[in-house]
């Protein structure tokens, strides 16, 4: 085992969902046509002023509370000044002196246990324009300029790539559960800066911090962390730790390596000062309470209930809680009285299967939990077989009709013992040879007889009663 251990801190930038941008009335939506969602404010025409989008402030406060951060008394904004072509004003409006959340902590599920991760701060800011570097030119798309962005900064308290990924997945879950962001990495809605340092195991002193900017997918984040730990450790072990310098690097996807961008000496002084065009906005205590009440039960909370109260296993639980809408559907099933395990099986196998096969979202799914209950109740009553139930399920979904209608239309299961005896008697009479073989030891012929009964009844014979009668008759 290495005598070094890593210390990792993360900065996660996540684009928020909102109708308009954070400081302008332009639409906040992903648009493939460049410069479609822009107005004078986004382009920093002289005399334009920012107006804070209340919905974005609300979402920022919600996330701040979900992360168990402290909320400030006032919502304040600051300017971060620097020149770059993706920044039309020459400054970014952000929160530097008084962020929307500080000193938070959440528990993540990692390595089979709950691990605390400390949140340094979370703040609301605006995104920059998107640059695309082509062969000998660069294009600018201002659709992204002014899109609301939440930046979350952890304390340096993460120890390895797996833990970092577990944390980010938890955060993504929170954003989605709270309907704050879709966190679509393909649309660049989540970007991560990774800070990595190493120190001798057990030492209290942190090593030299290296920052890797703008890593854009979970797998690249993991690769970045692993690469940096390996690089720094190798240098340390070779007695060349002084070559690890405080610097900013970037992750090169092609080689899987990190590459030097700029050293600390070139660090930009952003000259932060309070944004004079936005007066401090008092955060009303009642409003805060209202927002707090809107925070839904999050994944961790649900995980606990599913595994301890409902008796589901970790694997199934994780499938169901991945999407809040799925978990909500599942919980509704339980609320109306479906057995948890049955509901879980039906949800994972039938419902998710159907959704995947038909490329549907659960919001587009026809069957309500009540409809599912009708089907499951019929199975329990023995009126229909599992096989029939699945057919009814599919038919109800395909044709968007209530399963109640289908069940009454379908011939229900034959559970009449006399009727079944009559049918079985007939079959046995026509298969004397097989009965003989059965009695001579070919006991697997039992299934043959069941099959014959099913064939005769087109699958509607109650299998339990059928087996009982057969057992009796074949004694």
């Amino acid at each position: 085992m290495s005598k070094y251990e890593a210390t990792i801190g993360l900065e996660l930038h996540c684009e928020l969902k909102s109708n308009s941008k954070v400081f302008s009335p332009s639409k906040n939506s992903y648009d493939v046509t460049p410069n479609n969602n822009v107005c004078a404010i986004d382009l920093a025409f002289p005399g334009t002023l920012p107006v804070v989008n209340k919905e974005c402030v609300k979402k920022a406060l919600m996330m701040s509370m979900a992360l168990n951060c402290k909320q400030p008394e006032y919502m304040c904004f600051d300017r971060k000044n620097y020149y770059y072509p993706d920044l039309p004003k020459g400054y970014q409006i952000t929160q530097f002196y008084n962020p929307v959340g500080t000193n938070g902590e959440i528990l993540i599920n990692y390595d089979g246990k709950e691990v605390p991760i400390k949140i340094h701060e979370i703040h609301l800011e605006e995104d920059t324009a998107a640059l695309e570097h082509l062969y000998n030119t660069t294009t600018l798309d201002y659709n992204r300029a002014g899109v609301p962005l939440l930046e979350l900064v952890t304390e340096p308290c993460i120890t390895c790539a797996e833990e970092a990924i577990a944390f980010i997945e938890t955060i993504i879950g929170m954003y989605r559960y709270c309907d704050i962001s879709e966190v679509d990495t393909k649309k660049g809605q989540l970007r991560c800066d990774v800070n990595v340092s190493i120190k001798e195991v057990g030492s209290n002193e942190l090593g030299t911090k290296v920052e890797v900017k703008n890593v854009n997918s979970l797998s690249n984040i993991a690769k970045t962390i692993d690469y940096e730990i390996e690089r720094q450790t190798a240098l340390a072990e070779a007695g060349q730790y002084d070559e690890v310098v405080q610097e900013t690097r970037r992750f090169d996807e092609a080689t899987g390596a990190t590459i030097h961008m700029r050293s600390k000496a070139d660090a930009i002084d952003y000259k932060y000062f309070p944004e004079p065009n936005i007066p401090p906005i008092k955060i009303d205590a009642q409003w805060l309470e209202d927002i707090r009440r809107e925070i839904p039960a999050l994944q961790n909370e649900r995980r606990k209930i599913y595994t301890s109260e409902y008796g589901l296993d970790e694997y199934d639980t994780n499938i169901i809680i991945k999407d809040k809408k799925h978990a909500d559907y599942f919980e509704k099933c339980i609320e109306i009285g479906i057995d948890a395990k049955t509901a879980s099986n039906w949800f994972i196998v039938q419902i998710l299967g159907y959704l995947n096969k038909n490329y549907l979202d659960i919001t587009e799914f026809y069957l309500k939990p009540e409809d599912l209950k009708v089907i499951i109740d019929e199975i329990n009553k023995g009126t229909i077989s599992n096989k029939q139930a699945k057919e009814i399920f599919t038919k109800a979904c395909d044709e968007k009709v209530s399963p109640t209608k289908l069940i009454s239309q379908e011939d229900s299961q034959i559970s009449d013992k006399n009727k079944l005896e009559e049918i079985i008697e007939n079959i046995l009479n026509n298969n004397q040879a097989q009965i003989e073989s059965y009695h001579n030891g070919k006991t697997n012929l039992f299934d043959f007889f069941v099959g014959q009964v099913m064939k005769e009844t087109r699958g509607k014979a109650n299998p339990v009663i059928t087996k009982e009668i057969l057992n009796e008759k074949l004694k």
Partner: protein, 488 residues
């Protein structure tokens, strides 16, 4: 027959009675503008195709006016008197312009200013120096130089200005007219080129207090595009305008107004302060109580440097959008950094670049505490003192500047600290967002001088009423500049 020297109410009467038409007024105003342009260089743009407006019950309908060149005017060149925007034509109106359009006011000129409002002399605009219509060897002061010049010369009854330190109130004094900036946020700043956002005020220059009240009533109002604007629908300046003396209490600051503070005072300053004290006597004669108060000299002398630190910091950031990439003339270079450098190096005047450097310096991490934050502390301390004064007094009255308009060659003349403080201290009204008005109070060496009245936030009506009362008593209302020849 001249009409443009009349008041808004008089013009409105004539228009309503059909004795004159908006068309005639526009024609006269444009003619006078061209004439003044020859003499004083007050305009960036004279809108020769200005259309007369229908006369309605609105007092401003059909009457021409001038606009400082930092108000965005849709379809009309708006330069901020800077080469960086020398061909910039906005595609939207400033909110204030939008409101005056609705009132039926007629835009006839865009007036010269100090580049982006920085300077205070009217000499730094990209189209050249604005000369004082009373004496062409002197400045109008700035930054609303062209507006003051044109109103004083009788081109139109009023013009719009902006005021970050004293940019409406000092040019008004130097040109013998009235300059008023209401409480911060009473008029939306949307669409007006920023200089220092926390200090920037919009306002008006006119030849009497009543006209100021009429115009600001139209310009003001909460604007969803400016978060610092507020709802002032309960304030009706014109409707409430009346002479009031009873129970009114003013104060002046001993350290600023006493000649003993200025051992090196020149004749102009001495006469100016004498004249100020005559005005104080006039107030008392009217029945207005006036008391002398004392303010810590150290604090007073720190106002101007604090003001420089704050505006430089905000300006350096506010003008970072001027890169020549999205608008403005594109710089010549093969990469964006050099393009921006080329644009800014060639576009801005030396004075502005100096301020950017100061702004950048005071915001740097290692200097932030010593300069920027200390300046903010002084701002807070001073505003608190003024707020305390307003508990006892309706307003603070003070002389404007250190005399009449300065000679062009004297603008860089250095003065002792106390004199500089007197010259610059009106920025207290910008620090506090206070309503502040300058009215003419006589002459020094045949040149107009002014007196300022600054009250508490939201107390605009009171401030205007005091100014209105005093204006009627002083007798320098509706002055039109007459060129004077001082033989020296």
């Amino acid at each position: 027959m001249s009409n443009m020297n009349k008041t808004i109410k008089e013009l409105h009467e004539l228009l309503k009675n059909g004795e004159i038409t908006s068309e005639e007024l526009v024609k006269e105003s444009l003619e006078k503008a061209h004439q003044l342009q020859e003499e004083c260089n007050a305009f960036v743009t004279i809108i020769d195709d200005a259309n007369p407006e229908k006369v309605t019950d609105n007092l401003l309908s059909g009457i021409p006016y001038g606009i400082k060149d930092n108000y965005s005017t849709k379809g009309i060149l708006t330069t901020g008197s800077s080469n960086t925007l020398k061909d910039y034509i906005p595609y939207f109106n400033a909110t204030a312009i939008e409101k005056l359009n609705k009132a039926g006011a007629v835009k006839v000129t865009k007036t010269v200013m100090d580049e982006f409002g920085m300077g205070g002399t009217g000499t730094t605009g990209h189209t050249g120096i604005v000369l004082n219509p009373w004496d062409k060897t002197r400045i109008c002061a700035g930054s609303s130089a062209g507006s003051a010049c044109a109103v004083a010369a009788g081109v139109f009854p009023y013009a719009l200005g902006t005021d970050t330190g004293d940019s409406i109130r000092k040019p008004a004094a130097y040109c013998g007219i009235v300059g008023y900036k209401p409480t911060y946020g009473m008029i939306s700043r949307y669409g007006v080129f920023p200089f220092a956002s926390s200090l920037d005020h919009l306002g008006v220059l006119a030849r009497n207090v009543e006209d100021c009240a009429i115009v600001v009533d139209e310009m003001k109002g909460i604007d969803e595009k400016d978060m610092t604007s507020w709802d002032s629908k309960n304030i009706n300046l014109f409707a409430n305008l009346k002479e009031e003396t009873e129970g009114k209490k003013l104060c002046y600051i001993k350290e600023l107004c006493d000649i003993s503070s200025y051992p090196n005072a020149d004749e102009e300053l001495r006469l100016h302060l004498e004249n100020f004290h005559k005005t104080i006597q006039k107030c008392r004669n009217l029945g207005i109580e006036v008391e002398e108060v004392s303010v810590d000299r150290k604090l007073l002398n720190a106002l101007f440097s604090s003001y420089i630190v704050i505006y430089s910091a905000e300006a350096s950031s506010n003008m970072s959008n001027l890169t020549g990439i999205i608008f403005g003339p594109r710089g010549n270079a093969d990469n964006y950094i050099d393009m921006i450098k080329d644009h800014r190096t060639n576009g801005f005047s030396t004075l502005i670049k100096r301020r950017f450097i100061i702004g950048s310096y005071v915001l740097q991490k290692e200097n932030m505490e010593r300069y920027f934050k200390n300046a903010q502390r002084i701002r807070r301390l001073a505003v608190d003192i003024w707020k305390d004064l307003y508990k006892k007094y309706d307003a603070v009255i003070s002389p404007v500047g250190i005399g009449p308009a300065k000679k062009i060659e004297d603008i860089n003349k250095s003065h002792d600290t106390n004199t500089v403080t007197l010259d610059e201290y009106l920025c207290i009204a910008n620090f506090g967002g206070f309503p502040s008005i300058t009215i003419p109070n006589g002459f020094v060496n045949n040149l107009p001088v002014g007196v300022n009245i600054t009250g508490n936030c939201f107390d605009d009506s009171n401030v205007l009423n005091i100014a209105y009362t005093l204006e009627n008593a002083l007798g320098y209302k509706n002055q039109i500049a007459k060129e004077v020849k001082n033989n020296e």
